[in-house]
Every structure is written in structure tokens, then in C-alpha cells.
């Protein structure tokens, strides 16, 4: 391997840069080489080596001058859903191929202001719609993990599959993701890394290509819980340009990691124990409870009675919002316009038929349908009401417990192409992650063990709104006891 820094965390890199063990320029250069030699994973859509090296040079100067900022010289991957000034931003869609925004998203601007360096834009499912990274116009991403004695390529999960793969394979120290129904947590679980979806409103959505506005939330994908805490602090913050951004101070999450957990209560929702649940997943979940008991926490069985409705509700509301959010991609002002014969409607039809892939079209159709006159009350309105009930379930539960522990996914990573023709099977991947998205509460996936095939499995910790600190803290307790090491050794 080209990289001399395999599996470096943000914390490691920060220490190495501080102590002069290596320069930011060397660090960026090695990551650029690593990306170069891992093209088969297809983790990045756009690589930005030149600007990375020049930013790293400036970071070295600042470190030398003693004006280093908190993330000075830390090389990151940025999900290609964040608009980046002067750098192509595609949302993994043909319709935005070649689109270069003249503005920088709030979250990425915060990261650059903190000194971080961008290595490139990571791959994702088209418009963040998918759970396998198989819907990208720029091709599927491969998971760096493989089953024992089986070379078949596995999915990294989605939609932030490129980010999860890049972090797991050491193609960046950490990456940004976005989560609408599990798009940070599920790929993190599949790739053996840490994925945090903060509270809705914690990170501004300004400059993030919208999928479902009431659910979309940016968050970090990292190798450790500590890194997650470090990175979120520099992504979050109030932004008056996003009306749903919440004006609430961002604490020093890293500093809060050492708070004692003794006496805190962890809820175990009985409805998450699905019929026919994978025994390995179930065992790992029980193991997780034991770890937390070991950390001094008290397990409490809780009920989230509307859990079963979460997936159907999500697959009504998210497509409904998407069908409207994606109307702006019409070939009129930016992005691709297809060749067409005829009038304006023909232009729209040709452009959108050519520009959007199957899954995006499927969701636009579902969304258009559920908002149509005559169906609105039965689908959209009903789903909104059930969403409120789901949020109330959590509110009730948090009267009794401080956090909730669940598996992140029903199983480990599957083979590329395996569920691509079966949307329902694909949607079931989000069964444990979607309820928290609907409720807007924070959740983290922490790698907790390997299944019998040697693939990583994650546990999910859900917290109360704006209490990411406790979520990180409990995540760190699991991490410490799981002794998991992100080393996709089976990779070719």
C-alpha cells in the first residue's frame, strides 16, 4: 500500500501534525496516492488533489506560524451532495453532471474555516436515494470488506457509501455524510466505521442538495467515536439561511466523552426484535446491553408501539418531498438538457427521463402520486399524523430512559446487485434507522463486531434531541468494550 498512514484517525493526524511527525502536505500526498491505488472501490466521483495539496501547504504554514485551527491540515472526503464552490457537485446524478456551484455549503465552509483539507467528492446513491450506493450514475461503490474466503464485491451501503468506503479503506481520515432515513448510519455499519446523524436542525442544510427537506441532516463518518465528536463540532452550528436550523450552542463533544455513564438508563425497544431476526444481529445487540451494564448503565425494556409504521410512513413522506424538491432539475437554468424534438413539455420529458435514474424516477412517481388530489389525505396527511405518533413514542420513552440501543441494520453488507431489483427488500435495510429520522432525534452507529462471514455489524445508539453528547459518550463505551478494529483485511 502506498499510504504510510493506514487507518489514521483525525485525532492521530492532529497529534502527528502538532508534533511535527509529518507535514500536512505529506499527509495529503499519501492520501492522494491511496485514492489513486484504490480506484476499484470507486469511492470518489471527483478528486481534487491539486487544491488539496495547496490547501495542505497553507496548513503547514499556519502550523509553523502557530496559527493552526482545530482541524488544520486534516484531509477529508466530502459527500458529493454538499455544494462546493468551484468544484463539480453532482448528487451522483446525470442531470447535474458538470454542474459547478458558485457557492459553498454551510457545513463544508465551517470545515474549511476550521482548517480541514478536501481530498474530493465522494460517491453516493443518486440524490441520496438508496441503501447500497448502487443507484449512482457514476457507478457502484465497493465495500473494502469481503466475506471470509469469498472475493465477491459487496455494497458499502448507502446513500453515503462513498464516504463510508473512503473512511474504512483509509482514503481520507474522515468524511461528511447526509442521513435522510439511515444514509449515514447504515453504510457506517456495513463498512465498520462510525456514523453519526445529529438532531434535525443541528447542521444547516444550506448548500446541501435536498432529497427530503424535513429529514435530511448532515453528519460525520469517521473511524472512531472521538473523531465523530471532533468532526461534528466543526460541521454544526446555527445558520439563519436555513429556517429549520436551530439556534442552540454547539458543545465541545470531545470533552464530554469522559463523562461517567453510571446511573444512566438504556432503553431496549421490544418492537425492534423482529420476527426471524438474524441471530447474529440479535446476539450482538444482547452483547451491547451487557457492555453498557458493565459501564454502569441500567437496561430498561421500552415500547415504541408505532415502529412498524415507520417504513411505510417514510416511503410516503420522503418521496413526496423529493418529488417537489427535484422539480428544479428541469433543464432550463443549469445541469443537463437533453436533445429533444418539439415543445417545452417535450424538453422537460426528455431531460428528466435522461437525467434521472430508475430509483429517482420511482420515488418521484411515488411522491407525485401520494400528493395528488384524491390521494393526499389517505397517504400524505395520514403519514404526517403517524409521524407525529412515532415522535411521541420516543418522547414517551425518554421520560424513562436516557438513550436507546438497537442494531443499526438487520444484517451485514450484501453483494453488489443483490437487492437492486427488489426495492422492498432494499427499503427494509432502513427499518432500524428510519424511526429516528422521522422523530428528528440523534443517532450513532458504532461498529461492534463481525458476523460469521467476517463482516462488520454496527449497534445504534439513539438519544434525545440535541443531546448528542450522551449519544457519543455511550457510543464510546460500546466502542471501548467491542475492541473492534477497522481493518478490512479480507480486501484484495
Amino acid at each position: 500500500m502506498a499510504s504510510t498512514f493506514p487507518g489514521l484517525t483525525i485525532a492521530d493526524a492532529r497529534d502527528g501534525l502538532e508534533t511535527g511527525k509529518f507535514s500536512a502536505h505529506e499527509l495529503a500526498g499519501d492520501y492522494i496516492s491511496a485514492i489513486e491505488s484504490a480506484q476499484n472501490l470507486n469511492a470518489y466521483i471527483t478528486e481534487t488533489p491539486e487544491s488539496a495539496l495547496s490547501a495542505a501547504k497553507q496548513s503547514d504554514q499556519r502550523i509553523k506560524d502557530g496559527t493552526a485551527r482545530p482541524l488544520e491540515g486534516i484531509p477529508l472526503g466530502i459527500k458529493d451532495l454538499f455544494c462546493t464552490d468551484g468544484v463539480q457537485t453532482t448528487a451522483a446524478s446525470r442531470i447535474l453532471e458538470g454542474f459547478t456551484p458558485p457557492y459553498e455549503s454551510f457545513v463544508t465552509q465551517n470545515l474549511w474555516d476550521a482548517g480541514a483539507v478536501m481530498l474530493g467528492k465522494t460517491n453516493l446513491d443518486e440524490f441520496a436515494m438508496g441503501s447500497s450506493n448502487g443507484t449512482s450514475y457514476f457507478g457502484a461503490v465497493e465495500n473494502p470488506w469481503h466475506r471470509n474466503n469469498d472475493d465477491s464485491a459487496l455494497v458499502p451501503g448507502g446513500s453515503s457509501g462513498g464516504s463510508a468506503t473512503a473512511v474504512a479503506a483509509g482514503l481520507c481520515t474522515a468524511a461528511t455524510g447526509t442521513d435522510t432515513g439511515g444514509s449515514i448510519r447504515q453504510p457506517a455499519s456495513f463498512c465498520g466505521v462510525v456514523g453519526m446523524k445529529p438532531t434535525y436542525g443541528r447542521c444547516s442544510r444550506w448548500g446541501v442538495v435536498a432529497f427530503a427537506s424535513s429529514l435530511d441532516q448532515a453528519g460525520p463518518i469517521t473511524r472512531t467515536v472521538r473523531d465523530s465528536a471532533i468532526l461534528l463540532r466543526h460541521m454544526a452550528g446555527f445558520d439563519p439561511r436555513d429556517s429549520t436550523s436551530v439556534d442552540c450552542p454547539v458543545p465541545d463533544y470531545e470533552a464530554a466523552l469522559s463523562k461517567p455513564l453510571k446511573g444512566l438508563k438504556v432503553g431496549i425497544p421490544k418492537e425492534y426484535r423482529l420476527d426471524g431476526m438474524d441471530e447474529q444481529v440479535s446476539k450482538l445487540w444482547d452483547q451491547g446491553v451487557e457492555w453498557l451494564v458493565d459501564a454502569g448503565m441500567e437496561p430498561v425494556e421500552i415500547s415504541l408501539p408505532n415502529t412498524a409504521h415507520a417504513l411505510p410512513v417514510y416511503y410516503i413522506l420522503a418521496p413526496a418531498e423529493a418529488s417537489s424538491n427535484l422539480a428544479r432539475y428541469d433543464g432550463v437554468r443549469y445541469g443537463n438538457r437533453a436533445d429533444f424534438d418539439g415543445d417545452l413539455d417535450d424538453m422537460y420529458e426528455a431531460t428528466r427521463a435522461e437525467g434521472f435514474g430508475d430509483e429517482v424516477r420511482r420515488r418521484i412517481l411515488i411522491g407525485t402520486y401520494v400528493l395528488s388530489a384524491g390521494y393526499y389525505d389517505a397517504y400524505y396527511l395520514k403519514a404526517q399524523k403517524v409521524r407525529t405518533l412515532i415522535a411521541q413514542d420516543f418522547a414517551e420513552a425518554y421520560k424513562k430512559v436516557d438513550v436507546i440501543l438497537t442494531p443499526t441494520t438487520p444484517g451485514a453488507a450484501f453483494a453488489i446487485g443483490e437487492k437492486q431489483d427488489d426495492p422492498i427488500a432494499m427499503y427494509l435495510n432502513d427499518v432500524f434507522t428510519v424511526p429516528a429520522s422521522l422523530a428528528g432525534i440523534p443517532g450513532i452507529s458504532v461498529p461492534a463486531g463481525l458476523d460469521n462471514d467476517g463482516l462488520p455489524l454496527g449497534l445504534q445508539i439513539l438519544g434525545q434531541s440535541f443531546d448528542e453528547e450522551t449519544v457519543f459518550n455511550v457510543g464510546a463505551a460500546i466502542e471501548a468494550r467491542a475492541g473492534f478494529s477497522c481493518n478490512p483485511g479480507g480486501s484484495k
Binding site: C83, G207, A210, D242, T244, S323, S324, A327, R328, Y376
Partner: protein
């Protein structure tokens, strides 16, 4: 109620208006872009207006305040919680692919507008609602044989849509409603009411029915941009519908355009037949929640509106309802009047404004704000009348000179020597001269012909170039003739 006579009997018109009024604000409803009329195409477009990926709307508080003030000015209910919805449809001048509007929960609810009709009657017109929404951009089809150009300057500008109940029964009522609405928003400073520039336009819903029967099918005439055109569109549309029904046809529920050149309405025959706008709450925006105390404060700070002002003018200045109505129609006119009438006879001031001043303004095509004679200057003239310096006749000459030169009344009087002669000695001398030169008329008077006195007055005024005080002339003349 005005009924129309068809070939088969009488018909009643049923009219409802949806008025789009552009909010006066420096920035757009959900973006910081400017709203100046007539700027170079696409020069007032923010990233939000162009619907760039990842851009988000943020409500402009000024626009909300203007909508609430308008609602208060209309005496309508203010909804402390309202919701912005997306109205989805595709068009090149609608970059987002949806218009942000208010569908089920508007910011302003029901109200009533009282119309004072010319015949002295009053009509109550219900207001259904007022909501805030974004304007679309402009598609320009006539600059290229094949291409359509799009100007997004208007895109995202705040509009208030003010919807009336179908309570209007004649084109005159529709015009009175629009005039009053325009007057109120201009008093409030919430819309400039400029229909030519499109900052106020009306969609007119018209149907006809036999008096007392159920509502007929309505046609909607879109985007009518002057009060006169609204009148014409209603007249044409009602006549068209009556003829259609009397000939055995049926009115189609459709959208029509008003052609102001031919003075007729035409079906738009839109290709996109039945629109399904798929309204749903905009997830980028939180519900709009207003503080009751803030609304009360806005209410307390409202300026005096036309109805209150009219009542006050009648009570304080002794004006007729008609005169007061004319003076309060425009805030500027009312202010002009109050300045000119301050400490003076209100009726005389009203007569001068309604008569001489309006004539001059009409002739010169000027607004009262650009009047060549200021309110203070007119007041100065009125003072010279009341202290006897000028007769009414002289005052009119002085006024003309004030219009022409822009000088004050006193200066004109001084310069032109138009001062009324009240010196009895001077008048007596003139009277003596005329009496001496007209023995025949003196004889007529003495034999009882009272009317001949007018002939004497005319002669004396002629001789003094109108400057003699008419009262003094009369008095002296009678005394001398009776001697």
C-alpha cells in the same frame, strides 16, 4: 342591485375578485434580492430565486408585517398561526418547480369591506382571506421566433392575494371595491397600487343567474390590469354568458383572458388542462407564528384610514359626504386638504381643491404630489379671500398666476396690483362718475327697476378692473341712487 335585461328576462351578475397586490418591501418574500421595477433583466436574482441546488427560502419579516397591516386595515381576522405551502407545476419562469403560497392556513382570514355607492347606498363585500405568495418570473415570447426568454427579476417578489366573497353584483361595485382596496393599501403603504406596472392586478370571477336562483357556472378572467378594464371585462363577460345561456348553451368553467384592444374576453385554451398542484406544507419553512402583542402593536400604529378620515372630515369640517369621499380617496389629497384647511373654512378649501385645483391637475396630467400650487400656498390664497383682500373672482385670477409662476398669493397680488379696492372714497368717485354718465339708467332705477343695479355694478367693476369690493360697490351705489 343592477339587473341585466336579456331576451328571456332579467339576469343578475355574481362577481368575486382575487386581487394580487405586490407588497412594498426592499427585498423579496424569501430572498434578499431587490424588488425595483424596471431593472435590467435577471439583475435582481439571488441563488434562492434561481432555485440553485441546496438553496433555501427564509421568510422576510417585512413582508409578513405588511400583510398583517393590510389585514388589519381591512378589518380582517389575523391568523396567529399560518402555513406556507408549495403549489407544484412546471414552467420556465418558475425555477423551483413550485410556488410558495398559503393554501389551507392563510395569514389573514375573513373581513368585510363597506362600499359607499354613488347613489348613497352602502354595500358590504365579504373578504374571504389574504395570503402571502411568491410572484413568478416573466416569460418573453416575442423577442425570438423560436426561443422564449425568461426574466427572473419578479421571481420571488412578495404578493398579497386578497380574495373577496362572490358578493359583488355589478361592474360598478367591482370598481368601487377595487378603488377602495387600492386606496386602503396605499394609505397603509403596503402596496403602491400601480396597476400599469402590474403591482396590482385582478382575477375576475363572473357568473350570471336568474335573480334569487342558485349560482351559475363562473368563468375566471385572469390578470386584468386596470379598474376600467375590470369594468369592461365584467360587462362583456356577463353579456356573453347571458347570450350563451339564452341560446341554449352552457357556460364553461374556464380561465379567460381580457383583450383590452378588442374589449372582449377569450378562452385561454391552456394545453395543461386540469392542473393538480399537489399542495403540501413547505418542509423548508416552519409554520408562521405571530405574537398577539406584536399584532396589537401594529394595529395601534395603523394610520388613519379612508373611512375614519371621511367621517372626521364630515364632522370637523362640515363637509358633505360626497366632498369628503373625494378628498380621502387618496392619502395625498387628504393630507393636502388638511394642510390647506388648517385654521380656515374647510368647505371653501374643499371647493377650491375639488374645483380649481383638480381642473389644473387634470389639464396638466399631474398628481397632487406634483401640484404647482402647494397646500400652504393655497391656504395663503384662502386667507386673502377671507380677509377681504381678494374677491372670489380676483382669487381665481391670482390662482391662475400662482399655477403659471409658482409664486405665492400675496406676491402675485402685490406684483399685479390685484388688490381689492375697499377704500370707500375711491369707490364713491367711480360710482359718481358712472351715475353722472348714465341718467337714463338712473331714471329706470328710480322708477322701480331693481335689476338695473346689476348694470351699474358691472360698469364699476369694469372701470376698476374687478378690484372693487363688490359688497362696498353695492352699498355705496344704492345709497347714491336713492339720494
Amino acid at each position: 342591485m343592477s339587473l341585466l335585461q336579456g331576451n328571456t328576462g332579467e339576469w343578475e351578475m355574481v362577481i368575486g375578485l382575487e386581487v394580487h397586490a405586490q407588497v412594498i418591501s426592499n427585498a423579496k418574500l424569501f430572498s434578499g434580492a431587490a424588488t425595483t421595477f424596471g431593472a435590467a433583466p435577471n439583475s435582481q436574482v439571488s441563488l434562492v430565486d434561481a432555485a440553485m441546488p441546496g438553496m433555501l427560502p427564509v421568510i422576510n419579516g417585512v413582508c409578513v408585517e405588511q400583510a398583517v397591516r393590510t389585514g388589519l386595515g381591512l378589518g380582517a381576522k389575523i391568523n396567529l398561526v399560518s402555513v406556507f405551502d408549495r403549489k407544484n407545476y412546471f414552467y420556465p419562469d418558475l425555477p423551483q418547480g413550485y410556488q410558495i403560497s398559503q393554501f389551507t392556513q392563510p395569514v389573514v382570514g375573513e373581513g368585510v369591506m363597506v362600499l359607499d355607492m354613488e347613489d348613497g347606498s352602502q354595500r358590504n363585500i365579504g373578504i374571504t382571506r389574504l395570503h402571502l405568495e411568491q410572484d413568478a418570473g416573466k416569460s418573453i415570447h416575442d423577442q425570438d421566433p423560436k426561443a422564449t426568454y425568461v426574466d427572473l427579476n419578479r421571481c420571488g417578489v412578495a404578493l398579497m392575494e386578497i380574495v373577496s366573497e362572490p358578493d359583488i353584483r355589478s361592474p360598478e361595485e367591482a370598481c368601487a371595491y377595487l378603488t377602495k382596496l387600492r386606496s386602503i393599501v396605499r394609505y397603509l403603504g403596503t402596496c403602491d397600487g400601480n396597476m400599469e406596472e402590474g403591482s396590482m392586478r385582478a382575477d375576475v370571477n363572473v357568473s350570471v343567474r336568474r335573480p334569487g336562483e342558485a349560482l351559475g357556472t363562473r368563468a375566471e378572467v385572469k390578470n386584468v390590469n386596470s379598474i376600467r378594464f375590470v369594468h369592461q371585462a365584467i360587462e362583456f363577460e356577463a353579456a356573453r354568458q347571458i347570450e350563451l345561456i339564452e341560446d341554449g348553451g352552457e357556460v364553461a368553467q374556464e380561465t379567460r383572458l381580457f383583450d383590452s384592444v378588442k374589449c372582449e374576453t377569450r378562452s385561454m385554451r391552456s394545453k395543461e388542462e386540469a392542473h393538480d398542484y399537489r399542495y403540501f406544507p413547505d418542509p423548508d419553512l416552519l409554520p408562521l407564528v405571530l405574537d398577539a402583542a406584536w399584532v396589537e402593536k401594529l394595529k395601534a400604529d395603523l394610520p388613519e384610514l379612508p373611512d375614519e378620515k371621511c367621517a372626521r372630515f364630515i364632522a370637523d369640517y362640515g363637509l358633505s359626504a360626497y366632498d369628503a369621499g373625494i378628498l380621502v380617496a387618496e392619502r395625498e389629497t387628504a393630507e393636502y386638504f388638511e394642510t390647506a384647511a388648517s385654521g380656515r373654512d374647510g368647505k371653501i378649501a374643499a371647493n377650491w381643491i375639488g374645483g380649481e385645483l383638480f381642473r389644473v391637475l387634470n389639464d396638466q396630467g399631474l398628481d397632487i404630489g406634483d401640484s404647482p400650487v402647494s397646500a400652504d400656498a393655497l391656504g395663503g390664497l384662502l386667507d386673502l379671500i377671507s380677509d377681504g383682500t381678494l374677491s372670489n373672482r380676483l382669487a381665481k385670477d391670482v390662482f391662475e398666476e400662482m399655477v403659471a409662476s409658482g409664486k405665492g398669493a400675496a406676491i402675485v397680488v402685490e406684483e399685479k396690483g390685484l388688490k381689492q379696492i375697499t377704500d370707500t372714497g375711491a369707490i364713491e368717485a367711480e360710482v359718481d362718475k358712472v351715475i353722472a354718465s348714465a341718467p337714463e339708467q338712473v331714471e329706470q332705477f328710480k322708477s322701480g327697476n331693481e335689476k338695473v343695479i346689476g348694470w351699474f355694478v358691472g360698469k364699476i367693476m369694469q372701470a376698476t378692473k374687478g378690484k372693487a369690493n363688490p359688497g362696498a360697490v353695492n352699498e355705496i351705489l344704492r345709497k347714491k341712487l336713492s339720494d
